[in-house]
């Protein structure tokens, strides 16, 4: 039949076209060999508007285009960047930053002190997240001359340099014309950084190309692409297949690290990180308000098992003073967990002893009760992250051995944090919380979170319902202490008290894994650790500038 023969011919033709197209497509999917592909598993939140930058991804993306005054290093030192030097008076009430005269924007305009002043004024006026930590301390910002900026402070601020210095600087001549900064998409960004925008697809990728006239000397790689992956496995495989060259952040997918470590062309770097992973009790709920009870719980928890399972072992055993061990200058190494070096039986015996002394006797089923006959059964709340849930499950397993019953409950951040814990309302609606956060290496945050002035519901001390006059006044004083040695001593003393008091029970500190290929670029220099936004050093602009195609 003619009809059906014709149909078959048509089908065959269509099939041929499809095959040809696919072969053509696969034959030439080569991209520029001098291009660096970075994998990222979370899209940036701010798009291209740095004033709205909130998370690590924002700094990773925007750090290619914009630059800060200086780069605070992991070890506490600070590397000059737009500012070539800085000075301050004796009581640190006045700071002067001297800008590098070579600095210029990608459109050719020189970068001047006016730009810096404009940036900070805009941040403080609009209450943008970038300035939330420094606003209270800065009285005024002014340009002394084209190359000098003066910050006048409201009294001393110990963490000034690393916090002010890390802010990305914006060009006044571009932004002054923007009507509403908070609403601006900044589709054609003009920055001072080594790369300029080629294409940006929100939630998919950012593509930048090298600025040949970059003021510090052009980068040796031609292009950088940051690709956003939803599927972490696919991201790791892309690195193994050479579709990606760098994954600056593998945390949260620790289970995927072993196969990468076996790949000869991939190097995995495990770095220490200013992270803290803890259980926060609600001190208003009896008996969590009692120090001895918290100590017993702390001893009963099998922290090694928690770190080994929830973080796949990529973690450090805890320092109990809330300052992570990475911050070597500030951390008090003597406040390590009391359970270190004890066998499980010894730990449980010690915990049971403490609980018995509190009069929390066991019933027939082995569950402990308060003197009023209330069973010690609590709910431990967790966000939906697998590592948190695993930690909560293991805490449940551990505490069951000393007669305390936990139920794991999972929630989303709006309900749990926004609606309950940090809202200042419904403060009795939660009992125990698994929480983790990445801290700034400067311990100012420690004082801010546990001795807030004025007390705000979103600060830890208030949210957790914890008070301790001695420890809190010590922390408050440390914020304005300008003498480094004395500040160090105060912070260390505070940690010792904290470890005794246990406002939160630290479980450990996450390590930060990153991975990169070694066969396409050389000059990976992870020793030169920079703490730009919060991204891993491998992804920082300093490292990318040192890369060279093989």
């Amino acid at each position: 039949m003619r009809n059906s023969a014709a149909r078959w011919r048509l089908i065959r033709l269509a099939a041929c076209i499809v095959v040809v197209i696919i072969v053509a497509g696969s034959a030439c999917t080569e991209v520029n060999p001098r291009r660096l592909d970075i994998g990222w598993s979370e899209s940036p939140q701010a798009g291209l508007n740095p004033f709205l930058a909130r998370n690590e991804g924002d700094y990773l993306f925007l750090g290619l285009i914009y630059e800060p005054l200086c780069m605070p290093m992991m070890d506490g030192s600070v590397e000059p960047w737009i500012a070539e030097s800085w000075e301050f008076d004796a009581d640190r009430n006045e700071w002067l930053f001297h800008l590098d005269a070579r600095a210029r924007w990608s459109d050719g305009t020189p970068l001047s002190a006016d730009d810096v002043v404009f940036t900070f004024e805009t941040i403080y006026q609009g209450d943008f997240p970038m300035g939330s930590t420094t606003k209270a301390f800065v009285k005024s910002v002014e340009a002394v001359d084209a190359q000098t900026v003066r910050f006048a402070m409201n009294g001393g601020f110990a963490g000034a340099l690393s916090l002010l210095g890390g802010t990305l600087i914006m060009p006044r001549h571009v932004w002054a014309e923007v009507e509403d900064v908070a609403q601006h998409q900044n589709a054609m960004p003009v920055g001072s950084g080594p790369f300029v925008l080629e294409e940006f697809q929100p939630r998919s990728f950012l593509h930048v190309v090298r600025d040949a006239d970059y003021w510090r000397g052009a980068a040796r790689i031609d292009e950088v692409v940051i690709r956003v992956f939803l599927n972490l496995e696919a991201e790791v495989v892309a690195l193994m297949k050479g579709e990606l060259d760098l994954m600056p952040d593998l945390s949260g997918s620790e289970a995927l690290i072993p196969p990468l470590e076996e790949d000869a062309n991939v190097e995995v770097l495990i770095d220490r990180w200013p992270h803290i992973f803890y259980l926060a009790p609600n001190h208003r709920v009896d008996p969590w308000g009692r120090k001895e009870f918290r100590q017993a719980v702390d001893l009963a928890l099998d922290k090694q098992a928690i770190l080994d399972t929830s973080l796949a072992g990529f973690a450090e055993m805890p320092l109990m003073g809330y300052v992570p061990p990475l911050a070597t200058k500030w951390a008090n190494p003597s406040v390590e967990w009391r359970g270190v070096g004890m066998t499980e039986a010894e730990r449980l015996a010690a915990a049971n002893g403490l609980l018995d002394d509190l009069g929390l006797a066991r019933d027939d089923a082995g569950l402990r009760q308060t003197s009023d006959g209330e069973p010690l059964a609590f709910t431990v709340s967790s966000l939906t992250y697998p590592s948190y849930i695993r930690a909560a499950e293991l805490a449940k397993e551990s505490l069951a051995k000393v007669g305390i019953e936990l139920t794991v409950q999972v929630s989303d951040p709006e309900t749990l944090y926004g609606g309950i814990v940090f809202s200042g309302e419904r403060s009795l609606d939660w009992q125990l919380l698994v929480h983790g956060s990445t801290l700034h290496p400067d311990p100012d945050h420690f004082a801010r979170e546990f001795a807030p002035v004025p007390p705000n519901p979103w600060d830890n001390a208030v949210a957790f319902g914890w008070e301790h006059e001695g420890l809190q006044s010590l922390l408050r004083d440390s914020r304005t202490e300008m003498d480094d040695t004395r500040r160090q001593q105060m912070i260390q003393d505070a940690q010792a008290l904290f470890a005794e008091e246990l406002p939160v029970i630290t479980l450990g500190h996450r390590l930060h894994p990153a991975a990169h290929r070694t066969d396409k670029f050389m000059g990976w220099n992870p020793a030169k650790i920079i703490y730009g936004g919060m991204v891993h050093p491998l992804g920082s602009i300093v490292n990318l500038l040192s890369l060279e195609p093989i």
Partner: protein, 322 residues
């Protein structure tokens, strides 16, 4: 046979869209907690910042007022701004994602019908035989397997293990090449998502077209007497194909809605930048305006598809009256 039927269908579709709007408006206001808390995404927020937000979203106005404002905004394609990507308008992100989803959807639908016809006709031709039973069982098995799981397995086999096809995305970024290569590149990226969608959803067509073939065969005996000289096979195919048109068109609307649902899973497994991934992404980042925008866009696509089906039906079947 009049336009009344068509008008009635049109009005139903309009009502559905309106219902989607009402759902979108009501959900955030019915759910526990204030919409403002959701804007903050669990971040710590001062009382002043909270009041400012309430003011900005007009949340202290009377409910009716809010609804009219919302309706007027939506009609002007103003769906608000994404929480997670703050200054980006929701509508812009949606429009950017839509073509990718349509590409997957349309290609997969064509394949579903094609494969469904091929297997269904075979199955119906041999109705009652082992082949029939086997094909039917197979289709049921595919039908009841979770789509995302099929996608994961395909990704693992063809992307990870064999390395034949790309792992994610819809095209190679920064590809500097001619049109043919670009088209090929897009095609290569679309193969696995389309294959997953098709495998999981061709079954319904197979079943419909099998039953169609069974019907055709029953008529056949009568036809045979008149149409001597025509080969059995030809008769079957031309006749069956003509008969298959109506049930296939009728089912297209339903099937499109199902495939749209499937796209959420497929696109999130393959990080394919369409509406489904946008929706999954918004779930992860709890981006509520975006989430609602996606829902509205999905509703719009379903309604549009149903309209097309209705119109096609109106042309195809002159018997329709309602």
């Amino acid at each position: 046979m009049s336009g009344r039927w068509l008008i009635r269908r049109l009005s139903t579709n309009a009502v559905v869209l309106f219902a989607a709007l009402v759902v979108n408006f009501a959900l955030p206001r019915l759910m526990p907690g204030s919409p403002v808390d959701r804007f903050a995404g669990g971040a710590k927020m001062s009382a002043e910042a909270r009041d400012a937000l309430i003011e900005r979203f007009g949340l202290n106005a009377p409910l009716w007022d809010q609804f009219w404002r919302y309706l007027a905004g939506t009609l002007q394609a103003d769906l608000g701004q994404s929480f997670a990507y703050f200054p980006q308008p929701v509508s812009e992100l949606l429009l950017r994602a839509l073509p990718w989803t349509l590409l997957l959807l349309v290609t997969s639908l064509v394949l579903q019908v094609g494969i469904g016809y091929l297997l269904g006709a075979t199955s119906g031709w041999h109705a009652g035989s082992r082949l029939d039973a086997g094909l039917q069982t197979l289709s049921l098995i595919f039908f009841s397997t979770p789509l995302f799981w099929v996608a994961m397995v395909l990704l693992y086999v063809f992307g990870f293990q064999l390395g034949w096809l790309p792992l994610s995305g819809a095209f190679t970024i920064g590809l500097d090449a001619g049109l043919a290569v670009r088209v090929g590149d897009v095609a290569r990226h679309a193969i696995l998502p389309i294959a997953s969608l098709t495998i999981a959803q061709y079954a319904s067509y197979q079943i419909i077209l099998r039953n169609n073939m069974v019907g055709v065969l029953q008529e056949q005996y009568m036809l045979m007497a008149e149409a001597k000289g025509l080969s059995d096979r030809t008769l079957k195919h031309t006749h069956a194909a003509r008969n298959a048109l109506l049930p296939v068109v009728t089912f297209l609307g339903v099937s499109l809605a199902m495939s749209l649902t499937g796209s959420v899973f497929v696109e999130s497994v393959f990080s394919y930048p369409g509406l489904g991934k946008l929706m999954y992404d918004s779930v992860l980042s709890r981006d509520y305006p975006m989430l609602q925008g996606c829902f509205l866009m999905f509703s719009l696509v379903v309604v549009a598809a149903n309209l097309l089906v209705d119109i096609a039906y109106w042309f195809l079947d002159p018997r329709i009256t309602y």
